[in-house]
């Protein structure tokens, strides 16, 4: 009874051991490496939820059954899918299993001398025999030559065993260990990171608490109370454009930042490639646009709304659309608006913007009355008007200062502001990934450009030399030639 139990035990342990050896074998690693490349392909061919959610919706609209199956196979979420994760986790377990033992072996080998000179040198590469008159002098010459060429020596009776290029293995291990470090960095970032976005009109103040964000996502283990307690006011935003093409050439956001809230504000400039950094938290300038300012009055002439409304840009010339909602009037009033920074008209396109800067602003409005649907419970976009329960009561194009009287009241186009979209990202793993990357390159360079080889010299009646180049790296022959020349040179000197 105990016997069978024992054999099962050994069987399980044996199986595990066998599986571990398979997993950490070079062939498995190679296959996993190629699999990882192949597994990355579908994500570049199908739209990914994290990047282009609208296109994914399009797939669902076009062919729901197919899209459903693709979704079950995680084809819209390739890089977070179980099968993709499985491949890279296996690869890295295999990597650790292979590289850690090699690291220990290598550390132990560092202080050691090269192995003894083998008996039969004629079986080695580049074996050659050089006539020698004075054995002792030749021996000394060979020793000096090898020392000068930075070989480690093991002097034996009548022979030298020399090796160089230990650094190759050092570099190789450094490279592979760095890959592990990169993965650790990536994992830390996705488990403990945070990413949020907010849109801010110039002049507004942003306080870094979860409720101030338009969208915010946390990593799996990121607690909520850990945001850096800063407050930021957008004091000025300047965009420069190429006057001929209208392409943006520079964006500058000037901010006044208190960190922590209540401390003396500091003036800080944020640019597209120059985020504001606090430790592992960074604040990026991501996008910008315009908010037209309007004043709405009711029938009695009392002001019910006065301020900017964020409009979203639709094209490179910043033609922007948005919705202005006024739930406090009866009936409720809403406007669908188009803001043109540099308005122009033509027959084909109607009103459009021909330049992204505000040179000739115009606000096109269509006014609606009825029920805005804000109380229905379903969340709705602040940029769109839900016209299901509304009736259009008129349209109007307003120049700066113009007023439109829509019957239930009036609306005046009084000005505009710029808004900026800030992205706030916390990634505590970034530094590990960066250092991993730097060490990976260093390790790679060291390992690829170090030549590992052994040379043996045996002095008897003649001098016998031979060598061995690890991984068949070329250049051994030339080195042996050099050594031979140095040794036969000695003969001539003695003549």
């Amino acid at each position: 009874m105990t016997n069978t139990e024992n054999s099962i035990d050994i069987g399980v342990v044996g199986l595990l051991r066998w599986a571990w050896r398979q997993l950490t074998s070079m062939r498995t690693a190679l296959i996993l490496l190629m699999l990882l490349g192949v597994a990355a392909i579908p994500g570049s061919l199908f739209p990914q939820r994290s990047q282009e959610p609208q296109k994914v919706d399009q797939y669902f609209a076009n062919d729901p059954t197919l899209a459903h199956w693709m979704d079950r196979l995680r084809l819209f979420n390739v890089y977070a899918s179980p099968w993709f994760s499985a491949i890279y986790l296996l690869l890295f377990i295999s990597l650790i299993g292979c590289v850690l033992p090699r690291t220990f072996t290598h550390l132990r080998a560092i202080g050691k001398k090269p192995p003894l000179t083998p008996k039969n040198l004629d079986r080695m590469e580049g074996h050659r025999i050089i006539a020698s008159a004075d054995a002792a002098a030749s021996f000394e010459l060979a020793r000096k030559w090898l020392k000068k060429n930075r070989y480690r020596l093991r002097i034996q009776d009548g022979s030298i065993s020399a090796e160089k290029g230990y650094l190759r293995e050092t570099g190789n291990l450094m490279f592979h260990l760095s890959l592990i470090l990169i993965l650790v960095g990536v994992a830390l970032g996705s488990l403990f990171g945070m990413k949020g976005e907010t849109i801010l009109n110039v002049g507004d103040r942003f306080i870094n608490t979860p409720t101030s964000y338009d969208t915010i996502t946390y990593g799996k283990f990121q607690g909520q109370g850990t945001l850096i307690p800063f407050a930021l006011t957008a004091t000025d935003f300047a965009a420069k454009y190429d006057p001929i093409t209208g392409q943006p050439t520079d964006y500058t956001l000037t901010t006044s930042v208190e960190n922590p809230i209540g401390s003396t504000p500091k003036k800080i400039i944020i640019k597209v490639n120059k985020p504001l950094t606090y430790g592992s938290t960074k604040i990026y300038l991501q996008a910008n646009g315009y908010s037209p300012i309007v004043t709405i009055r009711d029938k009695t002439g009392a002001v019910v709304f006065n301020g900017p409304t964020i409009f979203l840009p639709q094209d490179a010339d910043l033609t922007s659309v948005g919705a202005i909602k006024e739930p406090d009037m009866t009936p409720q009033i809403g406007f669908i608006g188009t803001f043109l920074p540099t308005a122009q008209m033509n027959m084909k396109r109607g009103g459009f913007s021909s330049y992204p800067e505000v040179l000739n602003p115009e606000l096109l409005l269509s006014a609606w009355k009825g029920n805005l649907g804000l109380d229905s419970g379903t969340p709705q976009s602040v940029y769109q008007l839900n016209t299901a329960a509304m009736k259009e009561i008129g349209i109007k194009a307003l120049l700066l200062g113009d007023t439109y009287n829509f019957g239930e009241g009036s609306i005046t186009f009084t000005g505009w502001k710029s808004w900026v979209n800030l992205q706030i990202v916390e990634d505590p793993g970034k530094m590990y990934a960066l250092f991993g990357a730097i060490f990976a390159i260093l390790g790679l360079l060291i390992s690829l450009f170090t030549r590992q080889r052994r040379i043996w010299v045996r002095v008897g009646s003649d001098i016998e030399i031979a060598g061995l180049a690890k991984n068949g790296i070329p250049g051994l022959d030339k080195e042996l030639d050099d050594l031979a020349r140095a040794l036969s040179g000695s003969k001539e000197e003695q003549k």
Partner: protein, 298 residues
């Protein structure tokens, strides 16, 4: 000169390059074609390169001249836009052609590989031709996100790696071709100038071992740039994904050689496969792909 004059000058220089590389191509073709000799009394044809050595030397001179003129064209293009000359696909292509010819001249000086002149001049001609006709864009300043020293490093490393990958692919393809020929019997005379199978095999390995760290650096510089511009150092954008696939493919190639001991045909196929992932990225993703990387301007 002002920007517009510089840009025009650069365009003229590109046209001049087209002419020069065309001459180089013709010279290299003559070098191969006119060396054909009908062997007396036999139905067989032989190649004798001594007869056309001058044509070959003209070809080399034209390649050097073309490289220099192209260097001027790329530099003036950059000066006209006040930035490094790789803001769109037209500029990628002309700079790519520059590194391709540069890599060839290097290989020529170091390994005496004149036989590569024919495919390289043809590839350069095709690249420049499509660049100036299909991909051409007027010289413009960059949008703010592209203004970063990391972009310059990222793209220059990527372009140089690309040039070397292409040369390695040509060498590997030649290996397979020569291998097929040698299967049938001894090499014909025209192929006598091409290095032995073993040297070809070694050469493609050394080229790749040389640029793999550079390609790794290109990817890392790209990640650093993405981090400063988009707030995310890696986003699995199609272009990034394919750069990663290329990297993995070449890592697999190096492993296959160094640790599993692949040589010869299998290694050559793997090399060509890895190179095709780079080409695919360059052509397909740039033109038809989507994502934040689509700056090709098409």
């Amino acid at each position: 000169m002002n920007s517009i004059q510089l840009a025009t000058f650069s365009n003229h220089a590109i046209y001049a390059c087209l002419a020069i590389f065309a001459v180089a191509f013709v010279a290299h073709t003559i070098e191969v074609a006119w060396s054909v000799r009908n062997v007396e009394g036999q139905a067989k044809t032989e190649f004798e390169f001594t007869r056309t050595d001058r044509a070959g030397r003209i070809g080399t001179a034209m390649m050097i001249l073309g490289f220099l003129v192209l260097l001027v064209a790329v530099t003036t293009r950059g000066m006209s836009a006040h930035r490094v000359p790789w803001g769109n696909m037209y500029e990628f292509s002309i700079t790519g052609a520059l590194t391709l010819t540069g890599a060839y001249l290097f290989a020529l000086a170091k390994y005496k590989l004149r036989w590569l002149g024919l495919p390289v001049s043809l590839a350069t001609l095709l690249t420049l031709g499509t660049a100036i006709t299909v991909l051409y864009r007027p010289s413009e300043q960059l949008v703010p996100a592209l203004k970063s020293p990391w972009l310059a490093l990222h793209v220059s490393a990527a372009i140089i790696s690309g040039g070397v990958f292409l040369v390695a692919n040509l060498v590997a393809a030649t290996y397979l071709w020569m291998d097929a020929i040698e299967k049938k019997g001894p090499r014909p005379t025209w192929a006598a100038k091409i290095p032995s199978l073993e040297s070809l095999d070694q050469l493609s390995y050394r080229l790749i071992a040389f640029v793999f760290p550079l390609w790794t650096f290109a990817i890392i510089a790209g990640a650093i740039w993405a981090e400063s511009a988009w707030g995310k150092y890696w986003g699995w954008d199609p272009k990034e994904t394919w750069a990663f696939i290329t990297w993995v493919a070449y890592a697999a190639y190096l492993h296959a050689r160094v640790t599993v001991g692949w040589r010869g045909k299998r290694a050559a196929w793997l090399c060509i496969f890895a190179g095709s992932t780079f080409l695919f990225n360059y052509i397909y993703i740039n033109i038809w792909g989507t994502g934040l990387h689509t700056y090709s301007g098409l």
